[in-house]
Structures are given as C-alpha cells and as structure tokens.
Symmetry: C2
C-alpha cells in the first residue's frame, strides 16, 4: 500500500492524498460506507460504484465471522469475490462489536470471550485469531484487535485497557507479519490509538502506535458519546504525534460537521453508520442541514428530495413520496434515503478534497459548518 | 382504452394482444407487479422500467386511501405524478383488502364499514366513494367494488354475495359514467366476475358482467385457497361467456404454472404478490422450478443466481451471497430476490406472447409446465 500526500492546507492541518491498494486507488479525504455483513444496507454494488462513487467500503469482522462464516468466505476466495465489490475493502477487527453487541463477554489478557447475538453460541477473539480471520476475509486494510472503551470511562480503567490494547497490538503485528495473504494480493494492518478523552493517555498511545511504523494509523474510541469538543481535542493531540506521511483513519465519525472539523485536523479516512442507519428512519443530511423527512411539513412537498444533488434518485423522487415511503416502512424508502445520505457524505469529502487542492479549504469549511448548522 | 387482438392460438384459447392506455401500450398476456402503497417493495421505478421491463403496475386503493391519503395524492396530481411511474397503473377497489386485512368490518347493502389496520380509525367504502377514490388516485384501469368471497364459501352465501356485487356494479358504473377524470386522461372501469367455485354462479355472473359492456373484464375470488383444477374450471366457464374481443384480467393469480394454464384458457392480464412477497423470504422462481435460497445446499454455491437470465443482478450476484443476505435479513437480499422473481414472471409472459404469435404456444406451455414442476 502506498500513500502519497498531494496537498496540505495552509490555514489548517487538512490534507489531500492518494492511497493505492491492490483493489484500486482511494482519493483522500474519504468517507467509507459501512457494509456490516458484506452489504451496504439497501444499496446495490453497482449503485455504490456508479451512483455514489464509493471508493472503499467497510465490512465488520464480527458479523462476517458469525455469518456467513469463515468457511464460506474462504471458499468464495475472500469477501471481494463473495459480494462482488472489486474495489478496496477495510474490515474492522470486531473489537467494537464484541463490546457493543454482545451481552455476555469476558475480557482477559488472552482475548475476549463472548456470545453471538444471533444464536448465543460462545466464541473467543484473540489478537492472533482476529488477524487470521481478517486474512480469510481478505480486506485490503485490516484493523488491530483493541479494546474500545466506553464514554465516560474512569482514568484507571482507560489506562489499564490502553496498556492491554498496546500488548495486543504487538501480538497482532507478530501474527500478521508472520502470515501471508491468502488470495495473492497485499493486505495492510492499521493499529488503533485509544485512551478515552485523557490527553496524556492519547499522547502515550499515539507514540506507542507510531513506534510500530505501520503503513497507516487509526484513532478509535471517539464518537462514543463525548462532546464534539473533546473529540476534536483528542484528534488534535493524536495527529500531532502520528506520522505526517501516513494515512490517518478516525473510526466511527461522524456527522457532516464532525467530518469537516476532523479533516481540518488532518484526518484522511472516515466511516460511520449514521448516513445509512439514520436514513432508514428518515433522517436526511443535506448541505443546508438535517431534515427529518417524516415531519408533517413535507407531506405535500412535491419538490425533488435534493435539488442541489446530481443523484438521479434525489431529483426523480419527491420529498412527499419519500415521506410516505418511510412512514409506510416501504423498503424503497430506506433505499432512496440511504442513496441520498451516502451520496451527500461522498460529495462532502470530495468537495473538501477539491478545496484542499485549490487552497481554499479553511474558508469553505467554516462556511459549510455554519450552513450545515446541525443539531442532532 | 383500445384493445386489439393480434393472434389467437389454434390449440388453446391463448391470445396475444395490445392494450392502449393514456400512459402507454401494454402487450398481452401481461403480468402486473404489485405496488401496494405506490411502490413495488424493494424496486426502484427505473429498475421496474429498464431491468424488469414492467409495462403496468398495480396500486391498492385500500392502502393508498389510508396512507398517504387522498388529499396528498390529489395535490400531487394523481398516483403517476406522486410515485414517478409514468406508465400504466391499475388500482384494485379495496374490496379484497377490507375483507383480508381489517378485523372489524360490517358488510351492508350500502357498503362496507371497517377499521384501518394502521390506526383503528373507522371508514366506509361504498361503490360510489370507491369510484371517486379511484378517480383521485387516477389509475388508467380501475376496478369495480365487489365482495370477494373466501374459500370455502357455502352456496347460499356465495349466491347472496354475488347478487349484491352485481347491484354494486350498477352503482359503480353509474357513478363512474357520471364523473370525469380529474387529470385530463381517460380511465377505464373493469367489472369483476364472482361466484366462488360454483359453475352456475360463475356463468350467471359472467353473463351479468358481460351485459354491462365495459372495455375490459376481470375474474375475482380465485386463488383464495381452492385447488388449481377448480380455478382452471372456473376460468374456462367464465371465459366462454366474457366477450372475446375485450381484455380479461384474472385477479391475484398466481404461480408460474397457474399463469401459463390460465393464458391457455384465454386470460390476458395477471397480478400476484407471490413473486414479490415470497422473494423476501428467499423463494426464487426459475424456469426449472422453485428454489428456496435459504437451504443449506446453496451455502457455498458461488454460481450466478440465475445463469439463464439476462438480468444484471441475476448474473452478478451468487446464490451463496443471496442466501447469506436473506439469512441475515439484509435489505439487499429482498431487493435482489424481488428483481429476480419479477424479471422471471415478466420473462414468462413475454415468452408466452412470443410463442402465441409464432403459433407454438400450446406445445411450449406443456413443456414449460413439466419443467417448472412446482410444488408449493
């Protein structure tokens, strides 16, 4: 994997770059749609590629491991072959899901035992077997197995957890470096900075993570409930330490404003379930802020969903029709709203990139943040 | 509306025709995908048009009346404008839904009172207001308000109900003929033959319906649980009486074999929720019979969903991936399976039409029925 910085903003830390993977080039900053179980909910692969112009999607190791299971994915020749998405894929390590989705779990030095949210069966994730699992899934970028601490999290717990996450990282790297890709193309491992909202822990973690000298680095444990200001403060602390010439991935963030502010702080990669999950409940992100399409005010508004957009579905369907579909729990409502939100997120980061390359990012970002004016 | 018979099969009663409506021409025999609430579940309008090549879709008066409601549809300028489907639409009269979906209902000479399945609110459907409602929805073909009797149904009930349905038809025609279309284009009213599985009642009903001299006629109250042989027998009895030169619509039918057998008996138009509803549970219709894609046997079958198809999604996605999506209740699973089934149904009637025009229908139909060999 090769990362090239093409331009850095003079009034902020924003950067535009290019990340070359075995399945194609990603232009950064980038947003990665979440395809939990190997499918971005409600969106066909050709829509992702042609309508949304997604450059990379996410898969969840936890979900894919449980269903369809590693035997099936390996027999298919990896996730790309299984779901037909031939562009880059990133898989998380399951670290987040075993804490957020499973009810019975036990965290030990060895790893985490948990029960499947599907059938209650018992499983163990360790740094080593999570690397093996991600070798089998075959994503271009794979993530270290970490503990993602909740918010709020007391200092002592955060510190102890962080130390374990660092020891786990060593085990992840050892396993990863001593195994080969299964399908003939290169995979890259990103370690994850943790440390909750404690500046000193974040600094220590960033230094540790940087010392591993991997090809890219991630920041985890944010967007878990903390105020946006704390999130930005942590990103700033960490980015001052993480290597400048390597891609930085802020996991699970966030709203359009969160994304713009973090781009300004030097983040290159984002993922979040918000545009897809909230779409299914009728929350639309637009360049003029957030719309709840279920509101009565859209009942007889027959204007296009988003006249500012160049997406066919945004121009073809009306707000009133989409409102009706969401109210009626019609599948098509989820499909249309998801396409809209993902298209908007991809437009936002593409626009940010253009402004960085033009040298006008900072001014544009401040204007957009005002215009978005979101209140969630 | 103008119907032209283009060809009739010499070894059966099958016919190929063309039905010209204000929103375009329908080539018969045709299958009409069901878009209950103004949307064919899981399918974009452009997919219906370009991928499935649907020529006409159905809407349900009962559902549309309750949600989004007539005010919204009228403000939009009718259902075509509301949902963006600019080809022909047919609406049923709500007669079936008020019996099958509502729990509290009372059938009187005046009409049917029922409670909404959405919010329990009380409503009255009469032959007159159902015509007015369908004027507002603005479908090209609208249906008379009838009572659809269940199966089994005792003779006395079926007879009494039929007489009322006939009196209601008179009221429907009076109201329809004394009102104008709201949106400037012609609408056509089809009456419905009832009579359960009683030959004499079906004959009597067909004669009554024919005497109204409308531009097309429908057969209702079949595919409600009776054996296929009874369904075919009733179609045969009725079609011997219904005018030869007008389109015949068999409501709510059915499996691929049901459709082929009824085409052979002289039916021109079909609708059924089976290809869409069953798709969502993983039942796929193929030219070699029915597949339950959830079966273990497809778990690692990475061959295309349907190699015989020319639909992109049938060739792009594998059986194993679709199985995974349906098991995981992913929206994309419903989308892919629905596209597949509708494409297959449309292919089937298009193929039947080609064979009728070629003069080889009867032989082909018998071969196909064997090949389909369906057991539901």
């Amino acid at each position: 994997m090769k990362f090239t910085l093409q331009s850095t903003d003079k009034n902020s830390k924003a950067r535009a770059g290019e990340l070359v993977t075995a399945h194609g080039t990603i232009q950064t900053p980038i947003f990665m749609p979440v395809g939990t179980a190997g499918s971005v909910k409600g969106v066909h692969q050709h829509e992702l590629k042609q309508d949304i112009q997604a450059q990379i999607i996410l898969g969840n190791t936890y979900h894919l491991y449980l269903r369809p299971g590693l035997d099936v994915i390996q027999a298919a020749g990896g996730l790309h072959k299984f779901n037909g998405w031939d562009k880059p894929i990133l898989t998380d390590s399951g670290g987040y899901q075993v804490y957020s989705l499973t009810e019975v779990r036990k965290i030990k030095e060895e790893g985490v035992t948990f029960r499947s949210h599907i059938d209650g069966s018992k499983h163990l994730f360790t740094p080593e077997n999570v690397m093996d699992t991600q070798r089998i899934i075959g994503a271009d970028i794979i993530m270290a197995f970490d503990e993602c601490t909740p918010y709020p999290c007391d200092y002592r717990y955060a510190k102890r957890s962080l130390d374990m996450t660092h020891r786990w990282l060593k085990r992840c790297c050892d396993r990863f470096d001593n195994t080969d890709p299964l399908y003939g193309y290169e995979q890259t491992l990103f370690p994850i900075v943790q440390g909750s909202v404690y500046r000193d822990l974040r600094e220590k973690s960033a230094e540790t993570i940087a010392s591993f000298g991997r090809d890219g680095n991630a920041i985890g444990g944010l967007s878990v409930g903390e105020p946006a200001e704390e999130m930005y403060a942590m990103t700033e602390v960490v980015n001052a330490i993480l290597p400048f010439d390597k891609p930085r991935y802020l996991m699970g963030v966030g709203t359009p404003i969160n994304i713009l502010e973090n781009i300004a702080l030097g983040i290159d990669m984002f993922d979040c379930v918000m545009p897809t999950r909230n779409a299914r409940n009728g929350m639309l992100f637009t360049r003029n802020g957030i719309i709840n399409i279920k509101n009565k005010k859209w009942e007889a508004d027959f204007s296009p969903i988003d006249p500012d957009s160049d997406l066919h579905t945004d121009l073809f369907y009306s707000k009133a029709y989409l409102r009706h579909l969401i109210h009626s729990k019609e599948l098509l409502g989820a499909q249309i709203a998801t396409l809209h939100n993902l298209h908007f997120y991809l437009w936002l980061v593409q626009e940010a990139r253009t402004k960085i390359l033009e040298g006008t990012f900072y001014e544009w970002k401040n204007k957009m943040v005002k215009q978005l004016g979101e209140r969630l």
